[in-house]
Amino acid sequence: MPCEHYKDALIEVAASGATPSGELYAHLDACTSCRDAFVEEQTLFAAIDSGLHTAANTEVPVSLLPRVRARLDEAITTQRHWIQPLGFASAGVALAFLLLLIVRPHGNVPNNVPKQTPAAPTPMAPAAGTHIEISPSSIQVASTTPNLLHTPRTSTVKHSAASSHPEILVPPDEREGLAQLVAMLNQHKDFAAAFLAPRPEKKDALVTVDPLLISDLEIKPLEGTETETSDGTGERH
């Protein structure tokens, strides 16, 4: 057993890995039990460090990185499998919604509504008597304006060969949702105009964005009023 007085000091020194000095050095030189205790402490800390080093530096399995890469690939693929159908489904529903809005009757749409739709230079004339039929095999959209629907490449809209009505083709899994949507729209008929975006005809054109039309601005200084300068400070005329 080490002397009680030097016990903590010799543990501190052993823990720090330093060499004993001063009073402790003198005592260790004279006291065998403290010297033995000090050697035991040094051995203990060395054993701890050695054990930690062994535990902390285990060889990394060669399979680790390939397995991580495989799991990352798997995670990415899974994510895509979720996102793609979601994207297509929402696109399909949005498309069907647009089509339904286009063919719905406009007789009861207030006059100010078309003004709120973006880029509508020639607002579509509402057709009275438009009605929507949903058949089990396809969504039939019957309209009194048969040439209303142009078919872009990305669209699922087709003119039915057998009927004068245009026909909407939807995937089977979206048919039920579309049917519910039609039923809902038939109940709330004034949803339509806000979503309409008719535009001048462009044959065979894919989706394009028309340049924003802004009429020329005429800038006139107002007499005797303050106008704002570019730095935000007022300037009197």
């Binding site: 535990a55 680790l64 793609q84 696109a91 809209v157 989706v207």
Partner: protein, 197 residues
């Protein structure tokens, strides 16, 4: 005649492309860090679990979690420290759930059965001592434990650990010192029963 404007499918496709490009970038960036940080994640996990197979599983899990949250890490220079924490946390969770599953027999209780060994290396190499050390490590406060583990790993200086953990150098040093002393307190009685030459 009117043309129906169908923006939705195209914008969906475009956003899909943008998303995929961003994903490819993130993957490339993550891949650059994987070779260095994969082993680090493993060693942290191994230091906690003391089992190579479990540590490999945990390292994979930690790396996968890190990848999934990679976009949230704004300062990419903090990646190592961030990954170390994730690995440490996942390993601790694994250890706790494993403990709940099985009541392990503790080597802790029977120091008198230890065979006599001589040097520090031999003590450290003995299964009994390693068992005690593992136990003592488990009982260390987490902050001390992680820093001690990192300091025992080859290739990381105290300065690197300090920047990895985002704590001052002096704090790292004192944590290591305190941790080793706490381990010594727990192991002293066991080491003393191992007859030293």
């Amino acid at each position: 005649m009117q043309e129906l404007v169908l923006n939705q499918p195209v914008s969906t496709a475009r956003s899909e492309l943008v998303r995929e490009a961003a994903q490819a970038d993130a993957r490339r960036e993550f891949e650059e860090r994987l070779a260095e940080c994969g082993p680090l994640a493993f060693r942290v996990a191994r230091g906690v679990l003391r089992n190579t197979a479990d540590a490999e599983d945990v390292a994979q899990e930690a790396l996968l979690r890190a990848y999934k949250s990679f976009h949230r890490l704004r300062d990419r220079s903090r990646f190592r420290g961030w990954l170390v924490r994730i690995s440490f946390r996942v390993a601790l969770d694994r250890l706790r759930s494993a403990k709940r599953r099985e009541q392990r027999d503790t080597l802790w209780a029977k120091p008198e059965h230890l065979p006599p060994v001589a040097s520090a290396e031999e003590i450290a190499a003995s299964k009994q001592f390693q068992g005690h050390l593992d136990r003592a490590l488990e009982e260390l406060p987490e902050k001390l434990r992680l820093v001690l583990l990192l300091s025992a790993m080859d290739g990381y200086t105290i300065e690197e650990i300090s920047s990895m953990m985002g704590v001052p150098l002096g704090t790292v040093k004192s944590r290591i010192f305190i941790a080793r002393k706490k381990l010594a307190e727990k192991l002293r009685c066991h080491a003393n029963t191992i007859k030293m030459r």
